[in-house]
Amino acid sequence: MSAPPALPRWADVGLIPLINVLAALIVSGVVVTIIGENPFEAMMVMIKGAFVYKGSLGYTLYYATNFIFTGLAVAVAFHAMLFNIGGEGQAYLGGLGAGLVCLMFDSMLPALVLIPLAIMASAGFGAIWGAIPGYLQAKRGSHIVITTIMFNFLAASIMVWLLAGRLKAPGQMSPETRSFSPNAELPFIHDIANALGMEMARSPLNLSFVVALLACVGVWILIWRSRLGYAIRATGHSAGAAQYAGIPVSTIIIITMAISGGLAGMMAINEILGVQHRTILGFTSGYGFTGIAVALMGRNHPVGIVLASLLFGALYQGGAELDFEFSTITREMVLLIQGLIILFSGGLAYMFNRPLAHFLGFLLTPRHAGGGRRG
């Protein structure tokens, strides 16, 4: 029954995620061995595929951009003890917002006006899609987990309806909008690098990566340096104390969900403005859900989220390489490895806390004779 001594912060934030990932990799290695491949070889392929091969780093960072946005979305909500499962739907609607702005104004406005407008629209649409479940939670007591999941399905239906109908480009069959004009495109990083005279391989990495990093700074300032962030954290840690303090808990829940939804919605700028240059069906491909694992692993802190996003970006990109190199390792195998990482760093995130705390306690506390008697 004895509680282990509390983990020091560096261990909680640094060591535990590492141990979790390691555990997942060990189990993955066992599976790879069972199907008859060398796990170390597979590991090398994955690392090279994610970081070393030409253009691979760009792909890794491009995936990471998505995870940063959706991870931040989950984290912000979590600081108010709200479990936002709806990142997927909020990102999807964000794509609608960005798409609508571009479709309407791409022939009139210059890039410098159009792109910020489209970014705001993606955040705005995501925010609304997050704020509605927030409202339902705050005022009607509908549980946020249930409503945000339902809102994912609603978002998917709305997008199918629009992309197969009103928004479908005239004269073609696929459910997507027409391509935007070039002034709605966020520049690729390799284009910028080449323009500056630096050699860089082609990849989908675009300026939204910078926007994502700015969003990290923004979230950090919001949560730990603003009055609003104080209210969000107070609400999350102790609703009783928030009520006593006169913090309008319902309003804070709605605002938090709006910010969370807005961050998820901004994922669309990477996919829609950065890569696709049109709004397509299903561009969110589960990034919203992976954001939950990213936030959990990143301990809801922007720095942790960037690191976790890099890991998941590397898994996505390196996993594709794995699929390509080994005939026995299929796409499903790669999904399994990702699943194991999510399982260990999400579902079992705190499994190693107690053993590690006991171990560290054993290492760090001076022992003296006679202290070990137990009643």
């Binding site: 029954m1 004895s2 300032i221 730990w224 340096r225 603003s226 009055r227 609003l228 962030g229 104080y230 209210a231 954290r233 107070a234 840690h237 102790s238 009783g240 104390a241 009520q243 006593y244 303090a245 006169g246 913090i247 309008p248 006679g370 202290g371 070990g372 008697r373 137990r374 009643g375």
Partner: protein, 531 residues
């Protein structure tokens, strides 16, 4: 150990139900139990007395398996044992009645008693068996409760009986009661004592944890005194006196008299008229409360806890809106139609030290500096605009820590890592520093060590002398009597009387708290019992 303790324990030949030796337990830097020894004679009622925070609850938690001791030995009925969890304790015949009842409110008495001991897949057969056992227990010990009543509909005193029955049902021969009378009226307390005496007749050993001297004197055979995590004395109750026990508890002559000069009441700050609070399912928490508070006076609200005092504080601080009635703060009137909220009332100069500082007063994972602006995070003056500057927060916190002698003086330390007294000082420093016109205080010294109590009392008096109106709610009569200029008594959601400072004595207050002595002669507790 004192000489008396050797007399009490060393010379005794009676079998021991429990023997603890050299129990140690630390929480971080707090040494909650330090080499604690205890011998409980089988078939006796043994009291453990000590102030809040002396380590009594930690000790029984170790005995009941909630905590593992850092070191020491536990023997039950002469055998050295290890108690890893409560199941172990129950297996050894130890039962516990917690301060806060562990009952399923919407289950019947029978269902609560048999919970966890259903026995077989079919609930019917075991229910019948349990009913028989329960009836026998009720007969043997005079513990009469209707076993088909829903627990939440029972008065508190009867709920406590269910807890005792639960323990006995599980075969407890040693019964631990942790502060059992905190929620009882004096009459219910008397009934509880009758039950305890009956249990003793049947050979049950009882360990009674309390901080009330009167109860120790009334019911126990032996008494052990704890102070600052240590056992300071073991005595035969018949051979000691309340004065001796009090001195042992506190470690010096107790003189909890505050330097209290006559009040100079000024203009009314708070005027409440006919405040009522009724829950959706028709339970009245407040009935027609009217009161006036003036500048420069402390008005105490006495009452057994759970008689509407908490709800009164919630309404006056804006956390709850009254269902009818109104109150005026200065010239601002707050009614059901024009409700207020805690933020607005703070702007009107109403500060509030909440009863439950862990749940409301501070946020445990927040740093002290952050807890220091709880309630003022939107308005404090060290910061501007939308932003909070950690250095400004910490500077502000450090200043207040200095002024209120909060230890350790570390603004960045998590609020959870301060002792109860220092946490309370954080709350008090925050609420007093805004120079309020009206201060609502709930249980200002609950779980606070003696040094901090004196400090807090002095601060309250000083604040009153500066002209603040203070409404003091406390279950500690001594505190009410030593601080208040006027005393209001609450019972069952009503104000049942008012006494001036000079005319208040403990007997009279006790009767009024129990609802006896109301002017019309019909008492609320009788009405409750009769309904």
């Amino acid at each position: 150990m004192t000489d008396a303790s050797q007399m009490a324990n060393g010379g005794s030949t009676s079998p021991l139900a429990i023997e603890l030796s050299a129990i140690n337990k630390s929480f971080g830097d707090v040494h909650a139990n330090r080499d604690v020894n205890l011998k409980v004679v089988s078939g006796h009622i043994h009291g453990i007395i000590g102030e809040n925070g002396a380590g009594k609850s930690t000790l029984v938690s170790i005995l009941y398996g909630f905590y593992a001791a850092d070191g020491g030995l536990i023997s039950v009925n002469g055998q050295i044992t290890t108690i890893r969890n409560s199941a172990d304790a129950i297996g050894k015949g130890i039962g516990m009645v917690h301060q806060h009842f562990m009952l399923v409110p919407n289950f019947t008495v029978l269902e609560n008693v048999m919970l966890g001991h259903e026995g077989s897949l079919s609930i019917e057969a075991s229910a019948q068996k349990a009913r028989n056992v329960l009836n026998k227990l009720s007969e043997d010990f005079g513990l009469t409760v209707d076993s088909d009543m829903i627990v939440e509909n029972l008065p508190v005193g009867l709920q406590q009986r269910v807890e005792i029955l639960k323990a006995l049902f599980r075969g407890a021969e040693i019964l631990i009661l942790d502060e059992p009378t905190g929620v009882l009226t004096p009459q219910e307390t008397e009934q509880l004592f009758d039950i305890l005496r009956a249990l003793r007749e049947q050979g049950v050993t009882i360990l009674l944890i309390t901080h009330k001297l009167k109860e120790i004197m009334a019911i126990t055979d032996d008494v052990s005194v704890m102070r600052d995590g240590e056992m300071v004395a073991h005595l035969k109750t018949a051979q000691t006196s309340p004065a001796e026990l009090a001195e042992l508890m506190v470690g010096r002559k107790v003189l909890l008299e505050v330097d209290h000069t006559p009040a100079k009441p000024g203009v009314p700050v708070l005027q409440a008229e006919n405040l009522c609070l009724t829950t959706a399912n028709g339970i009245d928490h407040l009935k027609d409360i009217s009161l006036t508070l003036r500048e420069g006076e402390i008005v105490g609200v006495a009452g057994v806890s759970g008689n509407g005092q908490s709800e009164l504080l919630d309404v006056l601080s804006g956390i709850t809106t009254p269902t009818s009635g109104s109150f005026r703060v200065g010239t601002n009137e707050i009614t059901t139609q024009r409700p207020s909220d805690p933020a607005q009332l703070r702007r009107l100069g109403v500060a509030h030290v909440p009863e439950d500082r862990h749940k409301c007063g501070i946020i445990l994972p927040f740093s002290a500096a952050e807890s220091m602006i709880l309630g003022y995070s939107g308005t404090d003056e060290q910061n501007q605009g939308w932003w909070l500057s950690p250095s400004a927060l910490e500077q502000n916190c450090a200043d207040r820590m200095h002024g209120f002698d909060i230890r350790p003086p570390l603004p960045s330390l998590a609020s959870a890592n301060f002792s109860g007294g220092n946490q309370q000082k954080i709350v008090l420093a925050r609420e007093i520093s805004t120079q309020p016109k009206l201060l609502l205080v709930g249980q200002p010294t609950r779980g606070v060590d003696i040094g901090a109590i004196e400090f807090i009392h002095k601060q309250l008096i000083a604040l009153r002398n500066e002209g603040c109106a203070i409404l003091l709610v406390s279950v500690e009569l001594d505190e009410i009597m030593s601080l208040s200029d006027r005393i209001l008594v609450m019972n069952n959601g009503q104000m049942v009387g008012e006494l001036a400072r000079e005319e208040a004595d403990e007997q009279q207050l006790g009767l009024m708290m129990a609802g006896i002595g109301a002017e019309d002669g019909i008492t609320t507790s009788q009405m409750r019992a009769g309904s």
